[in-house]
Amino acid sequence: MSTTSVLFDAPGPRSKRRVLIGSVIAGLLLLGVLVLVGLRLDAQHQFDVEKWAPLFDPSDEQFPLVWQRIGEALGNTLVAAALAMVFSLVIGTLLAVTRVTAARWYRWAVVGLVELLRGVPVVIAIFFASRVLPQFGLDLEPLWFLVIGLTAYNSVIIAEIVRAGIDSLPKGQREAAESLGLRRGQVLSLVLLPQAFRVMLPAVISQLVVVLKDTSLGFVISYEELVRVAGQIVQVLSNPIQVYLLIAVIFTLINYTLSRFAIWVERRLSQGKKSATATLSATDPAGAGTGGG
């Protein structure tokens, strides 16, 4: 059934024993490392109650304040990610369509822009937006600089996803639409794009994971998202390890849920449509969204 079983035989009695021994050794090693780390942390007083209580003990007087700050920060993170995603979808689709329909004389400009935006680190795009745009009189809140920076990078990725989505559709769709006498724009907007979006959905949700992680780069422009607020909380409570651990858990939970959701959507879509594998994989790391920061 699963691919893992292809790599090794169904274990017989001897290899069962070997696997068991292997498991025990690996388990012991793992446990040993964990205990060692735990002891070292304990020696540095990292398990002291005062370092954990403000985060996890509801009766601690700082607990409600800390969680209120974290709640606001989480809200900011989600807002930035959502806005960036919406803009990226719109601009990305436009980019993809332009690239498909562009006349030759300006297609190179579109391609150039895409390559440029793709090659620039996201953190620099954000930094650039926040420091250069105001010089041209664009005075915005940090939120918008973050959104602009994230959109600059992700719209290019979305454009690629859209293009792949259109490419994955059966040729007959376009041909049928054209034979009905639809114009090129109509073929795209009425026939191809709606189907492509359906196919793209899992990949788009996965990209959302990347955007969510990248909002943490807002720290360079003092946008108060999770990681920056964690830094501020640490200034008061002086328990960096504990606070950042909490932040790591929050991110992992949200993003893991999103990834599972993407996989679920992918399954749903390929069930509804028996014809071949017509979704862009949510898990395929070849999909352009290979983890920004």
């Binding site: 209120q68 420091r131 003092s222 830094g231 501020q232 909380i233 200034q235 002086s238």
Partner: protein
């Protein structure tokens, strides 16, 4: 006019005294300076505009213990914050009408130039390079760059750093980080975004010294519960000024007068004692304010 000003001064002083009598343990947020409700200014000046609007945007640090630190309740506290409140009160603006804008070191000039903030009180050293872009009122405090080391360290000044092969930690984009280059090799300078990270690095032995203005270090020494000590040989002079729009002489003069009045009626001393004074041994005298230009 003169008489009223005098009365307000007396009342403020009395209030300050009575509050001081309540003991320094009270939260600094509770003792906001009394608002000059009938403040009126020559039309067209920055003071008149701000006073009429009834609110002011102040740039300060959100991550600098003792000077400007955003607490768990989301409100900044510290000496810079109190100084800003004094100025606002003189304009007839109460503390809750101040909009605090986080101003990291590298953004301060830009924020003033772009009008994102009306004034910046953020451990902002007056120097000629900065004067090309902004004007300074004050200084309201004079700090000096110093070193913080572990309590058993033998480093007794910046000259000893090189011989000891010590790694020195400071904050990106700050003047101390530039200054220390005269004493140690570039490869031995470690830079983070906030000083609390430097303190962590010192505690775990990743660096052997932390350098910045002595008052900032005092806060870290205090928080270390005796693990760290201040070397106590300031090797620079860092006059902290209040950054305002370049060439706004009248506003500068007004801020200077406000500072002098605050020094005379005890509000300055109270602001210090409520914040940095909790760890710094003696209350400073207001430095001779520079002429406005």
């Amino acid at each position: 006019m003169r008489l009223r000003g005098l009365m307000v001064g007396t009342v403020t002083a009395a209030l300050a005294l009575s509050l001081a009598a309540c003991g320094g343990s009270s939260d600094s947020g509770s003792g906001n300076p009394s608002v000059d409700a009938k403040a009126s200014f020559e039309a067209g000046t920055t003071m008149a505009t701000l006073s009429q609007a009834g609110k002011i945007r102040v740039g300060t640090k959100f991550d600098q213990p003792l000077f400007g630190l955003k607490g768990l309740d989301g409100k900044p506290t510290g000496f810079d914050v109190e100084v800003a409140k004094l100025v606002a009160a003189k304009l007839g603006i109460s503390a809750d009408k101040i909009e605090w804008v986080e101003s990291q070191s590298k953004f301060r000039e830009e924020y003033i130039e772009q009008g994102k903030v009306d004034l910046v009180v953020a451990t902002y050293t007056i120097n000629d390079k900065r004067k090309e872009r902004v004007s300074f009122a004050g200084p309201y405090y004079e700090a000096g760059q110093d070193l913080m080391v572990k309590k058993d360290s033998t480093v007794d000044g910046p000259e000893a750093l090189k011989a000891a092969g010590a790694k020195v930690c400071s904050v990106t984009g700050s003047t101390p980080a530039e200054k220390i280059k005269e004493y140690v090799d570039q490869s031995n300078i470690v830079l983070f975004d906030v000083y609390s990270k430097c303190a962590d690095a010192l505690r775990t032995g990743q660096v052997q010294a932390v350098t910045t203005d002595n008052v900032i270090l005092l806060g870290l020494v205090d928080a270390s519960k005796g693990d760290f000590k201040l070397v106590g040989k300031p090797f620079t002079k860092e006059p902290y000024g209040i950054g305002i729009k370049k060439g706004d002489t009248k506003f500068c003069q007004f801020v200077n007068d406000t500072l002098k009045a605050a020094a005379a009626d005890g509000a300055y001393e109270k602001a210090w004692k409520d914040t940095a004074g909790k760890v710094a041994p003696n209350t400073p005298k207001l430095p001779e304010t520079a002429t406005c230009s």
